[in-house]
Amino acid sequence: MTVRVLYFAYFRERAGRASEDVSPPADIVTVARLIDWLKEKGEGRERAFADPALVRVAVNLEYVKMDHPVRPGDEVAFFPPVTGGRRRRDGNA
């Protein structure tokens, strides 16, 4: 299957890309499995997903949880908590 993956904010910077089309094996059926699979691809992605508490996911433009299914053709976006606020996060960038 092919899944379109998007990265925003410091996820984009850490992953070194804004998007990628990936074809994970058939047993990658949830968001959580997809994250584990992406981390194995290295290239900074494991750093993007380092703190699970700071990972937000949307599938096809809607917020979902980690156990949400991932299906062929889905657009899966990863990003940190949204920031209307002003405090700086230490140590990222």
């Binding site: 949307a58 976006a77 908590p81 949204v82 920031t83 209307g84 606020g85 405090r87 700086r88």
Partner: protein, 161 residues
């Protein structure tokens, strides 16, 4: 109406159109958020000067999230009209970021719905701020006070971001 745009907006022109000709409207509440020139430290509340910032967003999802928030507001309050304009891209201190306007027969509904909309926008709409500081650029961290502000509108415990 919802608009997500790079360019600035004209409050007067927007307000001239907003709720125009609808004499059921007794009150209009407008909130405009601007870029400040100071920011607070995560810990102490000390302030640091801020230059410009860049607001990144998720085109498509931004609009659909704001539409969902507007729908929720209309379900909770009797609103005659709603307008949300949110900018993205590079912004400097003093620049307008966001405008939220609500119109209702009653001022309580206009105030509460406007306040609700901005609180939920700040915690749910997919925008991320990167501030330019003397030491370089830094991504802004989510604010606990924003979460608390949004949480007070939650009627029932719900999962989500």
């Amino acid at each position: 109406m919802i608009r997500v745009q790079r360019e600035d907006f004209d409050i007067g022109a927007e307000m001239a159109r907003f709720g125009a000709g609808n004499a059921r409207v007794g009150g209009v509440c407008v909130f405009v958020g601007l870029v400040r020139d100071m920011t607070e430290d995560a810990g102490g509340g000390r302030t640091k000067p801020v230059g410009a910032m860049t607001l990144e967003h998720y085109p498509g999802m931004t609009e659909s999230e704001i539409a969902a928030i507007e729908k929720e507001a209309r379900a909770r309050w009797p609103l005659e009209d709603v307008l949300v304009i949110h900018r993205h891209g590079r912004l400097e201190p003093g620049d307008r970021i966001v405008l939220v306007a609500t119109a209702s027969a009653h001022r309580e509904a206009a105030f509460e719905a406007c306040h609700f909309l901005i609180d939920w926008l700040k915690t749910k709409a997919p925008f991320w701020k990167r501030e330019e500081t003397p030491s370089g650029g830094e991504w802004v961290e989510a604010r606990a006070t924003d979460d608390r502000a949004a949480a007070r509108w939650t009627k029932t415990p719900k999962s989500g971001p």
